[in-house]
Amino acid sequence: MTTHTTSAPAEHAQVHAHAHEGNGHHSHRSLYLKIFGVLMVLLVLTMVAAFLPLGQLNVVVALAIAMIKAALILMFFMHFRDSDHLTWLVGAATVAWFLILIALTFQDYLSRDMITSIPGK
C-alpha cells in the first residue's frame, strides 16, 4: 500500500508532506449532528404541511422545504460551501442545465395556445 512511483525525487518529499494530513483535520461532528437535527425537524414539518389544506400552495411548500433540506445536505454534508470555485461551477452548471431542460420544454407546452392563427390563412 505504500508504493510510490513518482517521476522525480523532489516530488517524493511532497508526498510525505501530505501523509499526516489526518492530524491537521478537525472534526465536523458537532456540525453534522446539528444539521441532522434540523433535517429531522424539517421532515416533520413536511408531513405537517402535507396535511394542511393549502390548495395550490401545498406543492410549493413541500418543494420549498425539500430545497432547504437539499441545500443543507449539499452545503454541509457534502461540504459544497467549503469547496473550491471549480466545484461551485460544476454545481451551478448542473442546476442551470436541469433548469434549461425544464424551462425550454415547458415554454413549448405553456405557449401551445398562444399563437393559433397563421397570418394569410
Binding site: S27, H28, L43, T87
Partner: protein, 226 residues
C-alpha cells in the same frame, strides 16, 4: 484494532505528480459524475412534472394509493444514513478506523432498511394490482374512475416505479460500494480520506434525490383537496 492515528500514506498512482493532484482529481471526478446523475434523473423529473401538470387529478389519486408512512420512515432512515456517512468521512480524515468502519456499517444497515421498506411497499403494490404491465387493476379506482383517468393513474405509477426503482438501483450500488470499501479498509488497516469522501458525496446525492422524490410522489394530495 486500535484507535491510533494512521501512519501510512495513500498509494500515489504513477500518472499523478503528487497526492494533492490525485485527491483533487478524484473529487472533481466525483462531482462531475454527480452532474451526469442529475441530468439522468432530470429527464424523468421532466416527464413527471409534465404529466403531473397535465393530469393532476389522476396523479393525486395515484399518490393516495401509496403508503405515506413508509415514505416518511424511509426519508428519516436515509437522513440518518447521511449522518452516519458524513461521520464516517470525518473519522476517515481523522484516521480513526474503528468508528469509521462502524459508521460505514451503520450506513449500509440503514440503506438496507430503506430497501427493505421499499420491497414491502412494492409487494403490497403488486398485491393491490398497482404495477403497470403486471395486471394493472386497482380495485377502488377501477370503479371510481373512467378509462382516461385510470390511464393517468397508470402513468403516475409508471413514473413512480421508474423513479423509485432507479433510485433503489443507485442505493444498491451505493451499499455494495460501501461494503467493498469497508472490507478493504478492514483488510488493509488503512483508509484514504479522499476515497471515503468521494463515496460519501455519492451517498449524499442519492439521499438528495429521495428528498425530492418523497414529497413529489407521496404528498401530492394528502389533505384530499382534489
Amino acid at each position: 484494532m486500535s484507535n491510533a492515528v494512521v501512519q501510512e500514506e495513500p498509494a500515489l498512482l504513477s500518472h499523478f505528480d503528487d497526492l494533492q493532484q490525485q485527491d483533487d482529481s478524484t473529487k472533481l471526478g466525483m462531482w462531475t459524475f454527480l452532474a451526469t446523475e442529475v441530468m439522468f434523473f432530470g429527464g424523468m423529473f421532466l416527464a413527471y412534472i409534465l404529466f403531473r401538470w397535465k393530469y393532476h387529478a389522476g396523479f393525486a389519486e395515484g399518490s393516495l394509493e401509496l403508503i405515506w408512512q413508509a415514505g416518511f420512515i424511509n426519508t428519516g432512515v436515509l437522513l440518518c444514513s447521511s449522518l452516519s456517512m458524513a461521520l464516517a468521512v470525518d473519522f476517515a480524515k481523522l484516521g480513526k478506523l474503528r468508528p469509521l468502519l462502524i459508521n460505514l456499517v451503520i450506513t449500509m444497515i440503514l440503506g438496507s432498511i430503506f430497501l427493505g421498506v421499499k420491497a414491502v411497499e412494492y409487494s403490497i403494490d403488486y398485491r393491490d394490482h398497482l404495477i403497470p404491465g403486471l395486471d394493472f387493476a386497482p380495485h377502488k379506482l377501477v370503479e371510481k374512475l373512467d378509462a382516461a383517468e385510470l390511464g393517468h393513474v397508470k402513468l403516475f405509477f409508471v413514473l413512480y416505479f421508474a423513479m423509485t426503482g432507479l433510485h433503489a438501483l443507485h442505493m444498491v450500488i451505493g451499499i455494495a460500494a460501501i461494503g467493498i470499501l469497508a472490507f478493504m479498509i478492514y483488510r488493509n488497516k488503512f483508509a484514504d480520506g479522499t476515497t471515503v469522501e468521494s463515496l460519501g458525496l455519492y451517498w449524499h446525492f442519492v439521499d438528495l434525490v429521495w428528498v425530492f422524490l418523497f414529497p413529489l410522489l407521496y404528498l401530492i394530495d394528502l389533505n384530499h383537496n382534489t
